[in-house]
Amino acid sequence: MATGSLPKPASGWSLSPEDKPILIAGAFILVILAIGTAYTLATQGTASFLSPVYLLQQLQVGAFLGIVAAGAMLVILLGHIDLSIPWTLTAGAMLGSAIGGPYAIPVGLAVGMVVGLVNGLGVAYLRVPSMIFTLGVNAVMRGFMVMLTGGYAPQSTATPLMSYLATGHVLGIPMPLIVWAVLSVLVVLLLQRTSLGRYIYAIGNRERAAYLSGINTRMVIILAFVVSGACSALAGVLLAGYSSKAYQGMGDPYLLPAIAAVVIGGTNILGGRGRYLGTVVGTILIVLLTSVLSVMQMPEAGRQIIYGLVIILMLLVYGRQRGVIA
């Protein structure tokens, strides 16, 4: 409250600044669905966007992005960023399916955690800016994978369990959606109910203060990167199951949408503020936007432009910073 006025008394209807982005993004999802429905009604005479089958299918596709975004959010809350997502995801998928058998998924996740550990060590101990260190780790992982596979899609196929987790259904609900939901509950518990979660917010707000209050900031940073790596690898393992095998560059389309989903959900890119629900809403928004545009047969050029404009528009509405940060 820089204006000097008294803070407004909290009434039942007042919105915390962190709820506003979630509500606006939620409203925008409805707008996207309305536009898509109007289009299909006009061209095909059906409201296919509103059918539960279509929506569940979209959520199934969105689950992969949502899992990546969950990990990316933890790192962004710290005020860092994880650019190693694409090849962590690919490495998890490739090595997981290469090992095969019952160990496929644990190995895939372990790969992600090791990458996250390296990221965390570089950022926390060497204090290299996370943007550049994770970029380098991404290049190294890409190098390793290209070396191992010879630059082609590996021959090994996904294990039945991976395929089941990616394409199976329980009571009509797609499995990836269930995995995403379980992960989401865990992340919410982590952020809201554990001291680690509180430490993450504290470091994102002011690392110096967090350190002086006795928080082992290095350990928190490392853990956040490890979780982020594990999330990327989990998405990779599921994605390999979804398309029955791992392939080169499978992670590339996930980095920027994941960051966009986190930011559209109201998380401050500089860290310290943001709610997990926002990231879920942001993910759904991006997935539906992509889907509606492709149903409308928008060419790639138009899709890119609309995609960029939507991010700018959403942030102009609620992402504005206040004044000079001294």
């Binding site: 960023i81 290299v128 380098g136 290049a139 070396m147 590339d252 942030l315």
Partner: protein
Amino acid sequence: MNDLRLRLSQNLGLLLAIGLFLLFWLVYNGLHPKGFSTAVLIQNANESFVIGAVAMAQTVPVLAGGLDLSVGAVMTLVNCLASVLVNGSGWQMVLGMVVCLAAGALAGWVNGAIVVYGRIQPIIATLATGAVYIGIALFIRPTPGGEVDGDLSWALTNDVYEFCATYGLFDDGEAAWLAPFAWIPMPLAIMLLVIFLVWIPFRNSVTGRGVYAIGSSEGAAYMSGVRIDRCKIAAFTLAGFFAGLGGLYLALQTSSGNADVPQAGAYTLNSIAAVVIGGTSLMGGSGGAICSLIGAMVIRAISFNFRIFDIAPLLQPLFEGIVLLGAVSIGAARVFRVKNRLELLG
């Protein structure tokens, strides 16, 4: 003496980059069958120009404490624009090139305006505008193609002598006074012109100093009366201009335009790597475009050596990554000498 030592210690990153570049480049030339010849120099300069220009573009917002994730997209946009415009009669081509550079600067200005007036974090604002610019590039050139004037392309990607010979300047480049400069590759000459006519005047201007001041401490700069808004917009506009220059040159080099999305992303990421290797702080306030140019040359010199040592193309990404990580980790080694960890925390 103390002054010299202070200056050296302040520019340790840059010195490391110069050392790395000389090492890789001398090894390359030493082992190349035609090493240290004009032909090799021209080839190297051509291959380094675009990444150098994009790295310089990235530097300016970084100096102001921001980051521009749209430099690769602006480069691609101008590349596609140039493949349409840089053709026809002499004046049309000149006008086309001016329009291309202006389009790059305009794209940068839009970035700056969104960051300043929209008050959106630069990193996320430019992520979004980058998507828009790539979209426009795809509209201009849905499939790779287009054409750039062959003479112009030849003249600007060779040495000064060929440039003069192509356009009949200075007795077809045979003028006696020109002889000492005739071997200079045109890309190097253009880069020097840009540095002396654009970058150094900008850095020494009130606005340019303001950019450094904002990067050091935005609050302090504001309190001292630095025109924050103007400086930030100028920084992004100049970034757009440099990126546009890179895109224009890429069009001359390849005689075509290509709205290649992965390539745009790779240039953006490499530009950040070049900035860091060159010794510019990602926090802003120290470094400069020349440092980043050298950083970009280090990255290119490393890949030149892949050809000499016949390293399998499959291993190249691994080497690039390890060198990048190694360079930033060496630069970070000072961390272990710091006794009070509070000095490291922001």
